[in-house]
């Protein structure tokens, strides 16, 4: 594991923490009940975090054709 790979732990914590801490309908997020809206936002954040890892990860240069 390279240091940058540890960023990948964040989506796990972020995704699961929301409903664990606040399992209530309000406040709505983007028109959705809180737990669903939270998960949806974290799906997007997961993609962004993975994009950051992808850009920094030296592995993607090593096996370039």
């Amino acid at each position: 594991m390279k240091p940058i790979h540890w960023l990948a732990v964040i989506p796990f914590i972020g995704m699961l923490a929301g409903p664990a801490v606040h399992n209530e309908v309000d406040p709505f997020i983007l028109g959705m009940p809180f737990p669903l809206g939270w998960i949806a936002v974290w799906v997007v954040l997961t993609a962004i975090i993975m994009a950051v890892i992808y850009l920094i990860d030296p592995a993607n240069r090593e096996d370039a054709p």
């Binding site: 699961l16 028109g31 592995a59």
Partner: protein
């Protein structure tokens, strides 16, 4: 109604034609048939990996799940994205090992990593027990979709036979290419249908997504949050983690990784696939939209929530289009499953009995086994065995048992012995099967524990037993000398 029937028939024909065209004049030898010549770019691999998102289970099940149970359905959105995070690290390693050693199936990986053909046999059996019910589920879903979207004009049995025949023909002819090419149409169709339904229905029936959820929250308090016990927050967290871990242990997804042309394909997909996962939200919206509109569906009928609402709101042409998309969601994953099962049987079970078989003989046998696999699946589908639902649950927990041995084998120095891996998987699978068939929960096994622990997904017990046995047996057995180049 005629319009609906025409569209469904057209979908079936299009799937067949596309599946056949996918062959593209290639000689379908073992490399081409099973792993597409290891030349798929990120879009084809994307579609193969995303295949798991839109099976009939998602199309009917996720909307039915939202309709029937509410909040617990949210877990489906969460686990897929996390599974892709794991895939970023896991699949490039699986891919490069597969390429290096010319692997074609998931058991191949175990046989090579642990230098143990018997481990390959065990993994094949675990895989088959998981795959057959999954295929049955696709065919059952196909029957439901065609009957509902065709306004009952097409008998369910006929739909299942025709669907199975189409899949059989194009899998034999085009192998994994057939699955990948039909997946292109499947995903475009499903994207259009799901986005349309998920946006239009809440807007038309409730005045928007926000107002829809407000009305549901008012009418059914507690429906939109996790319940205090049962499918609670503790259940949600444990289930998301377990299913994210098990996701790429499904043999058809694992083996699909071999088809990529380079390792970056997976890393790029770890960015794209979570975003694609968001489309599931719109499937949920359809299910939630049905809650106050077509109340009263119970049990297995909740799977019809989407079609009940659609036939109530739309003309037959639109219903037919939904049905056409539904046909693809059954046939595409079905084809990948059928191919994987036939490949396992040919190479890793029968192949053990005839080690002298050439690649040409292995692939020829696998092609002959496709109709056999389909016939078994059709038999179970038509007899409608009630245990099939339980078997599917067993299947999911079965493939999850492969995770510890896979992860250990990818470490620079694998501390797990072949006997340890074998014993761990075997014990984990037995525990998983017993727990599923007795409908045990952590709460029923340990009633004295706090509620949050009692709500944990029971699959954790099987996985824990697996890991404990794997470690203990590995400690008392000596590692087999690994042949050069096998690490």
């Amino acid at each position: 109604m005629t319009a609906a029937l025409a569209l469904i028939a057209l979908a079936a024909l299009a799937a067949l034609a596309l599946g056949l065209v996918a062959r593209g004049g290639r000689d379908m030898d073992l490399e081409q048939w099973a792993v597409g010549g290891r030349g798929f770019g990120w879009i084809l691999v994307f579609l193969l990996l995303a295949g798991e998102i839109y099976t009939t289970f998602t199309f009917l099940g996720a909307s039915g799940f939202s309709y029937g149970l509410g909040a617990p359905v949210y877990y489906i959105l969460a686990y897929g994205s996390l599974a892709y995070v794991i895939a970023y690290f896991l699949l490039p390693l699986v891919w490069s090992y597969g390429r290096q050693h010319g692997l074609h199936s998931q058991p191949d990986f175990f046989v090579r990593k642990y230098a143990s053909p018997s481990l390959g046999v065990l993994v094949s059996i675990v895989d088959l027990v998981a795959l057959i019910p999954y295929l049955v589920l696709q065919l059952t879903g196909l029957g439901i979709i065609v009957t509902a979207a065709g306004y009952g004009a097409i008998p369910k049995d006929a739909a299942i036979w025709i669907g199975a025949a189409i899949v059989t023909v194009y899998v034999i002819m085009s192998g994994i290419r057939g699955s990948a090419y039909t997946a292109v149409v499947k995903d475009i169709l499903i994207l259009v249908v799901v986005l349309f339904l998920g946006i239009y229905l809440p807007l038309h029936l409730y005045g928007g997504i926000g107002p829809m959820f407000e009305q549901i929250a008012a009418a059914k308090p507690g429906f939109l949050v996790f319940p205090a016990s049962g499918q609670s927050v503790a259940w949600f967290i444990s289930t998301v983690l377990l299913t994210a871990v098990g996701f790429f242990m499904w043999p058809q997804s694992f083996a699909a990784a071999y088809s990529a042309k380079d390792a970056r394909v997976f890393r790029r997909n770890a960015i794209a696939l979570p975003i694609y996962q968001l489309i599931l939200l719109f499937v949920f919206f359809v299910g939630f939209a049905a809650v106050l509109q077509v109340p009263g569906l119970k049990g297995a009928d909740t799977n019809l929530a989407l079609f009940k609402l659609a036939t109530q709101e739309f003309s037959p042409a639109v219903v037919g289009l939904i049905g056409a998309a539904g046909v693809f969601t059954a046939l595409v994953p079905g084809s990948l499953i059928a191919m994987t099962a036939a490949m396992l049987l040919s190479k890793n079970l029968i192949g053990v009995l005839r080690p002298e078989a050439t690649d040409a003989q292995t692939v020829a046998l696998a092609k002959w086994l496709v109709p056999v696999v389909m016939l078994v699946a059709v038999y179970f589908t038509l007899t409608g065995n009630a245990t099939i639902v339980t078997m599917l649950l067993v299947g999911y927990s079965f493939v999850t048992q492969l995770f510890p041995a896979v992860v250990m084998s990818l470490m620079p120095r694998n501390p797990t012995t072949p006997a340890g891996a074998f014993a761990g998987i075997l014990v984990g699978a037995i525990v998983a099967a017993v727990l599923s068939f007795t409908h045990a929960t952590v709460g029923s096994l340990f009633p004295a524990l706090p509620q949050a622990i009692r709500d944990l997904n029971v699959g954790i017990i099987a996985l824990a037993a697996n890991i404990v046995v794997m470690v203990v047996v590995s400690l008392v057995t000596t590692p087999r000398t690994v042949p050069a180049g096998a690490t």
